[in-house]
């Protein structure tokens, strides 16, 4: 479930609550939107929040749902990402996901013009190294390092904390992190794939989730098969989940949905819908993609937040998988609800 487009900050948190009631795995804040226009050029129709305050604010309002945020890595530092995501993971009881991605050249030129810019193949390699450093930093505290023994006065056992001494092509990071290892080992690490071959070739093996927007079930099934065939069990225990971005326009009847779609199209600027129709029809379409092996799940984007979110929730509630796997009484980490293994941490030196 994905939030954008409305300027009512608390409504974004309310949407996370609503999605939790409908047993969604996660809410994703501040995803990039290809139709987003810079305010001030005369056509701005949207705002963009920094994802981190929204993730933090959603912690207290929700109990089970995963909290994900888009944090592009081309202008970020791995130490910040590791530190903040680890902090949010502790605060939320292990519910955090980081959606990495690249902001794109145009934004960089405008807002970060003082920084060095990389051409695409290099940007992909930097992205891969960035994600590796984040993982190394999460592993810089072994799970048993956090002792907090009041009797001996030992808060941390330094034998279980290690500087990472990372020295690569793009980053030199000593570490260790200054927060204990995340509850989930690492936050769930997702990558927003904007369709660049260079990027997903380099990055797919390092992440838990790939979020992409392939147009047909055949294209998506081919892409997913490719991701799975390239998977190397030495880097991660299972191949990345492929999540398909989908914005439906829904109505109580086919006719109402079509009218809404026409109305929204007349307003201009929005992305073309994935589906137009009723919640039941939408649920069937999702099931079709899933059964064809085109994807492992969906990044659902309400076209108009409150209204479409309610109808989307209705569609998802009618899906048998949603009903079977996530009872409202269960409190789980995001990794558990996505069935992604918790990374074990550093291999003890004695076994290396």
């Amino acid at each position: 479930m994905n939030e954008a487009f409305v300027f009512q900050p608390r409504a974004l948190i309310d949407a996370a609550v609503r999605a939790e009631q409908a047993n969604f795995d996660a809410v994703i804040f501040s995803m990039p939107d290809p139709t987003f226009k810079t305010p001030g050029d005369g056509t701005a129709a949207s705002v963009r929040f920094d994802a981190l305050p929204l993730m933090g604010a959603a912690i207290g309002a929700t109990n089970r749902i995963g909290l994900c945020g888009y944090w592009p890595l081309d202008v970020a530092e791995p130490f910040h990402v590791a530190r903040v995501m680890t902090s949010l993971d502790h605060l939320s009881g292990g519910r955090v996901g980081w959606v990495a991605g690249l902001t794109g050249r145009e934004n960089l030129l405008a807002d970060y013009a003082h920084m060095a810019l990389l051409a695409e193949p290099e940007a992909a390699h930097r992205a891969a190294e960035f994600i590796l450093v984040v993982r190394e930093l999460c592993d810089s505290w072994d799970d048993q390092a956090y002792v907090a023994d009041q009797t001996s006065g030992i808060f941390v056992d330094p034998d279980w904390v290690h500087p990472i001494m990372h020295s690569g092509s793009y980053f030199t990071v000593r570490g260790p992190l200054n927060v204990p290892r995340p509850i989930q080992g690492y936050p769930v690490i997702a990558f927003h794939d904007d369709g660049s071959e260079a990027l997903h070739t380099v990055v797919a093996s390092l992440v838990d989730v790939l979020i992409c927007d392939l147009q047909t079930p055949d294209q998506a099934a081919q892409f997913r098969a490719q991701v799975r065939s390239r998977h190397s069990p030495s880097v991660r225990s299972s191949p990345a989940l492929v999540i398909k971005t989908a914005m439906p326009i829904l109505g109580r009847t086919e006719r109402e949905a079509l009218q809404r779609a026409d109305g929204l199209a007349a307003l201009g600027a929005g992305p073309s819908p994935f589906f137009v129709g009723t919640p039941a029809g939408f649920a069937a379409e999702l099931a079709k993609w899933f059964e064809l092996g085109a994807c492992d799940g969906f990044d659902l984007r309400p076209a108009v937040n409150t209204r479409d979110l309610d109808l989307i929730c209705e569609a998802v509630a009618s899906s048998p998988r949603a009903a079977s796997c996530r009872g409202p009484e269960r409190t789980t980490t995001l990794r558990e609800s996505l069935r992604i293994a918790r990374p074990p941490g550093r291999i003890p030196e004695v076994f290396q």
């Binding site: 300027f7 900050p9 608390r10 948190i13 987003f36 305010p39 001030g40 050029d41 056509t43 701005a44 129709a45 949207s46 705002v47 963009r48 929040f49 920094d50 981190l52 305050p53 993730m55 933090g56 604010a57 912690i59 207290g60 309002a61 202008v75 530092e77 130490f79 530190r83 903040v84 680890t86 902090s87 949010l88 502790h90 605060l91 939320s92 934004n107 405008a110 807002d111 970060y112 013009a113 003082h114 956090y146 907090a148 009041q150 006065g153 030992i154 808060f155 941390v156 056992d157 330094p158 904390v161 500087p163 030199t172 990071v173 570490g175 992190l177 200054n178 927060v179 204990p180 307003l267």
Partner: protein, 439 residues
Amino acid sequence: MMRKLHFGLFIYPGGHHLGGWRHPSVAPKEILGFEYYKHAAATAERGLFDLYFVGDMLAAREREGRLVAEGALNNIDSISIDSAVAAATRHIGVVATLSTTYNEPYAIAERFASLDHISGGRAGWNIVTTANDDAALNFSRKTHMEKTLRYQRAKEFVDVCRGLWDSWADDALVGDRTGGRFADAHKIRPIDHVGEFFSVKNPLTLPRPPQGWPVLVQAGGSQAGIDFAASVAEVIFTAQTKLAEASAFRQSVESRMPKYGRDPASLRVLPGLMPIIGDTEQSALRKEEELNELLHPAVGIWMLSEQLKFRLYDLPADARLPTTDIRASSSDFTPRAISLLDKADAENLSIRDCGRLVAASRSHGSIVGTPEQIVDHIVAWFEAGAADGFNIMPPYFPSELDVFVDEVIPILRRRGLFRTAYEGATLRDHLGLTRPVRS
């Protein structure tokens, strides 16, 4: 209207006394969870505090290349805590610490604008340039930026952020559904900044924050820091432990403000204060002694070595602090370090004693006594103009915060020195600071 006190709650994992986390009432495994931070915020809000303050560190705390084992020193990220707390409270301001040396202004302006919007105008930014050299090694740099340059960068960083917060006029958001106009394009301008450190063109992607800008907070008492504070700070979090020093500090900031076109009346000074409170003076002193016993000597000596930038690990803990050697080792001591060396000389203190002094209240002021004695101290500083209030640093959480809220605050309120209800909605309202007009 009579001048009123302002209070911040400075949250620190395990408490500000570095032995505090070992107190039997503390559950040290819970200090990473949301409930811990939420509970403290709810208590501070019950006490009608102005703000909730979280610090930040960008490197692990080490001694000779290994993590310091004996203290709860490695805290979690301030924006994460503050945004979670903001959603769980209704009135109290939330101040987060972010470095201008290791961040980018566009991202930080967006982050604080988001926090201010999501909290309904309760955000504050404690602007730091990062004091510990180790941080550089976590950010692909060989050395920490030199102090003068750091403050030049900080000044430009804040200028860019203010430009971004002002890029939307207050009435730029139209939200006209029928006319299809979301925002008035004529009221949103690119900032087109090109400076020594940053080039930033676009306006922000969010409407102007409810407070115009988040409240700008600063800490740090060096000459460069004072000048920076005079140019931008609306709240200063200080660490002077003596009234005369605190008054002199305040005067030195205020005297520089007109140079930057600022009115000294628009400044709030909140020294850090660790209260150790007992029903009687004796029981307060016993509580202090108990905490000092819980403080592992190694953590005190480590903190002392860090603060003096002088290695003390090989010397016997009972030896006198070698102040002559220490003074000869550097010409760049902080005001805190100098006052510590003077005290060590005057009182002939050992290394262990000095370690205890710096670690007990993390080098901030502390006061031990009955609620009435705590009140006398607060009022003396307030009436002398050395402070507008205090950033309260409980030695451990949550019980010592409860004691302050339940036993000290009511006395101040009876004397008419502290609010009896929140009177406004934003952090600026609480602090009596004006909302900046868009430039």
